[in-house]
Symmetry: C2
Subunit: 201 residues, 2 copies
């Protein structure tokens, strides 16, 4: 099965997916990487592994829907079956989300529904939680509200600041995200209402 | 130091505190147990261990403030330094909360700020989270909004329903709540703004 990864930045989660694919445990191929930022290091990571890397400049489009439509066209041309957002800093328009129902995943650095949106790690520290974590979820039309696929807790240490906590959460992300993709590729995820049922096999 | 426990029901968390006190690891004495329900089994548990058990009927008071004031009077007479809510099903009035700043604790069966209020376990299952847990926090004037003292994650299993998940969360509660009380009794909790700093020693 063909996976597309949408990125805006460094792409460390993309790197984890590429590793998993090369080890044969992703259950699919990273077919293309699309970025809204030309300088995203994720594009370089893709090229380093012989993966197509596309920069699509939002300024070349008159509106969000046109931009998203052009991404959808690229995805359709490549017969993409799953789209993974990996630090993609744009909200997808409803047209995009409806075109790929239950086929778009995102990862978020908190235990949703706590601390959605930007700066999930900072939000958690400011609130004073003792446990945070990360969440892989399907994307719906809300902000980080779609059905949860996998979550894992990460303890907050008394000495933590945003960078140290984010780093430990990232380490878990790099394990959790490829696993969620692999479960999808194997047909082991079933969404019923708000719940995503994982067939643990 | 003297601890009072406010209860409305079975009192399994009270039982955990009594055990900890009898083992000498609570750092204080369960001085009195107060219930707003005459039939609360927690009252019987207290008596079984020779602890004062008081039933105070809310219907004997014209308003919430009068009821809370009568509890405060009981607490003052007994030189109570920490109040632990353990399944106490009434919201404390601001007068009560202000009388004991940073001296009232509560336990909640979710990882706050997710799923505050009633039926935290059911809320979490309905949302479809994969990780829930429990939270010991100081009580402020909001609903489950006070500074978090301790949290522990509990995984949600695919086969879980409300009862099975609640049972596993309860098991963690019975460990976490006495530990939070012990930390308080030893002067190892410091609240700074929203954050409660735990001196791990």
């Amino acid at each position: 099965m063909n996976l597309a990864v949408l990125v805006s930045g460094s792409g460390s989660n993309l790197q984890a997916m590429i590793h998993a694919a090369e080890k044969g445990v992703l259950g699919g191929t990273v077919k293309t990487v699309i970025s809204d930022r030309s300088e995203a290091f994720a594009l370089q990571r893709a090229r380093n592994h012989g993966i197509e890397a596309i920069y699509l400049n939002p300024r070349d489009f008159s509106c969000r829907e046109d931009y998203d439509q052009s991404i959808c066209t690229l995805l359709e041309e490549r017969a993409i079956e799953l789209i993974a957002l990996a630090g993609f800093m744009r909200l997808l328009s409803p047209v995009f989300v409806r075109r790929y129902p239950g086929q778009i995943m995102n990862i978020h650095p908190s235990l949703l529904p706590a601390f959605p949106g930007l700066d999930g790690v900072k939000q958690a520290l400011d609130y004073g939680v003792k446990v945070s974590g990360c969440t892989v979820h399907f994307v719906d039309e809300g902000l980080d509200t779609g059905p949860i696929i996998l979550q894992e807790a990460v303890p907050v240490l008394e000495t933590d600041h945003e960078e140290t906590l984010h780093q430990r959460i990232h380490q878990v992300e790099h394990r959790l995200y490829p696993r969620a993709i692999s479960l999808f590729m194997q047909g082991r995820l079933t969404v019923k209402g708000r719940r995503c049922i994982v067939d643990e096999g």
